[in-house]
């Protein structure tokens, strides 16, 4: 389980997260929703160690992540799909996928994990030797998610995976992700602006506004609460 407690992050004088606390249970998707600039990206970047918080803690199964380097957090099986996918466009599709599980020792296991990613996202298999820069927006998102899964993570941080994806494709990816979550007991933190689709797959939802948590509730209840939806989610 991932527990975020009293997390406060500031860029210079700008407070981007203000005393944020919530937890992400195993085997379920937790959605983090909020408007532009709410602090969603800051939250995942802080969890994965790219941003140092001013205050607060992030516990993974009781172990403190704050203060560790991003590379050591990754090795604790926290996988991060960054905003705008973050593939390495100079490398081939296959090399990008291999990067996901590279820090693990067992070569055979690494290969199995990469093959699983191809099975999950068949369009990638057809382009494995090609440069990642040649992929479409949807394929890049698949590559980024596939690469994160190839690391066999315990925690998966997804920062707006819907960005640039067609609705159908997004639904497909979410469905595949949904079954993996239960199967592998993944803890998923799903950042979305597109609240409707995120709420349909998430168990729990956290709504951020200007760096503060304004609502934490079960996703279906939030989706059903018209007043909350209007106030914070714009639909």
């Amino acid at each position: 389980m991932l527990e975020v407690a009293e997390l406060t992050v500031a860029y210079g004088g700008v407070v981007a997260l203000d005393d944020v606390s919530f937890s992400v249970p195993e085997g379920a998707i937790t959605a983090v929703l909020g408007a532009n600039g709410a602090g969603k990206t800051t939250l995942v970047r802080t969890i994965s160690g790219l941003v140092r918080p001013r205050h607060g803690s992030v516990l993974l199964d009781g172990a403190e992540l704050v203060g560790r380097s991003p590379e050591s957090i990754a090795r604790l099986r926290v996988a991060h799909v960054p905003e705008g996918h973050g593939i390495v466009s100079e490398l081939s599709v296959d090399e990008n996928l291999r990067l996901g599980g590279l820090w693990r020792r067992d070569r055979a296991e690494q290969r199995v994990a990469v093959d699983e990613a191809y099975a999950l996202f068949p369009p990638l298999a057809a382009r494995r030797r090609g440069p990642a820069s040649g992929l479409s927006g949807g394929e890049r998102q698949m590559l980024s998610i596939g690469r994160a899964l190839a690391a066999r993570p315990a925690v998966l941080l997804l920062d707006e995976p819907s960005l640039g994806l067609a609705t159908r494709l997004l639904a497909q990816i979410m469905e595949r992700l949904g079954s993996l979550v239960a199967e592998r007991k993944l803890s998923v933190l799903l950042i979305e602006q597109n609240a409707r689709s995120a709420l349909s797959v998430a168990g729990q939802a956290v709504v951020l506004s200007l760096g503060r948590v304004v609502v934490i509730d079960e996703a279906h209840r939030l989706a059903g609460d018209e007043a909350l939806r209007h106030a914070y989610l714009g639909f």
């Binding site: 790219l50 590379e71 960054p82 390495v88 490398l91 990067l99 590279l102 820090w103 690391a151």
Partner: protein
């Protein structure tokens, strides 16, 4: 015809030494976006180390290997001590530091090893070979020069393209932030990259010294010619750097052979200007901007 062959062999041999330096510059540029102006001075210094240990009774080849190992260490230390602390500063800070290192090493060498010009032994004969009475225009040392640089280049290619450590190094160079969230220890990869580049430089130093003699600024010109080759190749492309440096070697050899050796540096400048005017990104430069 005979003169042409002689100049061609000369050009290729020198060009391979420039190519080693050019490739070292490109490796560091790709990994850390820094031009290492101390590349030549580092090679001079490690060659002095070889000279020193050989003078004190170490067998030649052991001294050779010691110099290569010293190159690895010097590259790693330079990255850790000089470059890493200014990592987040504008790239100019690190460039000025490499210039500082150049001046430092060129001042330190005469203090430690003496300022006089030394002759450095060649591992193989520099007298041109003959085959069945026919003059061949190249010596065993020429073969060794071309062969050893080619060999190291092939090894580096295999390392970068065919091994997981090479994949890690490329990922760290292309996109450090993504590499880090994938668990790659980017700092170590950069240190390793600098170390390997300095190893290549050290080889160039050892190959240049028998021809140029050994003195504190003996690699200055080699650095300029290697740099020219790297720029011609687009600074981003290892193959381009090698081709560019070979081109510089050949051009300089023809110019100094046919027109007089005083004109050689001018020739290098002219090629550089011509290439940059026709192809500002260099012959092998990427047409596409690097994507984030």
């Amino acid at each position: 015809m005979r003169a042409f062959l002689i100049y061609t062999v000369d050009g290729v041999t020198n060009g391979m030494v420039y190519a080693a330096v050019a490739l070292a510059l490109v490796m560091i540029w790709r990994a850390t976006r820094i031009i290492n102006y101390a590349q030549g001075a580092m090679a001079m210094f490690t060659t002095y180390i070889a000279f020193f240990v050989i003078e004190h009774g170490t067998p030649f080849w052991l001294g050779f290997v010691i110099a290569l190992a010293a190159g690895l260490a010097l590259g790693a230390v330079t990255e850790r001590v000089l470059v890493r602390p200014v990592e987040s500063r504008p790239a100019l800070s690190a460039v000025i530091l490499t210039l500082g290192l150049l001046i430092f090493l060129e001042a330190l060498a005469p203090m430690l090893f003496g300022a006089q010009v030394q002759s450095f032994p060649a591992p193989f004969s520099r007298i041109d070979l003959t085959a069945g009475g026919t003059q061949l225009y190249f010596s065993r040392f020429d073969i060794f020069t071309v062969g050893s640089v080619l060999c190291v280049m092939v090894l580096l290619f295999v390392l970068f393209q065919r091994t997981t450590i090479g994949l890690r190094m490329r990922a760290a160079a292309f996109n450090p932030e993504i590499a880090r969230i994938l668990g790659i220890r980017v700092g170590r990869m950069l240190t390793l990259g600098w170390a390997l580049a300095a190893l290549l430089g050290a080889l160039a130093g050892l190959l240049a010294a028998p021809v140029l003699f050994l003195y504190p600024t003996n690699m200055d010109e080699v650095l300029v010619f290697g740099f020219t080759g790297a720029i011609i190749g687009g600074l981003e492309s290892p193959v381009g750097a090698v081709v560019g440096a070979l081109g510089v070697g050949l051009a300089l050899s023809y110019v100094s052979g046919f027109l007089g050796s005083d004109l050689a540096p001018l020739g290098s400048l002219l090629i550089l200007m011509a290439v940059l005017m026709i192809r500002p990104r260099g012959l092998f430069g990427m047409t596409r901007q690097r994507q984030v």
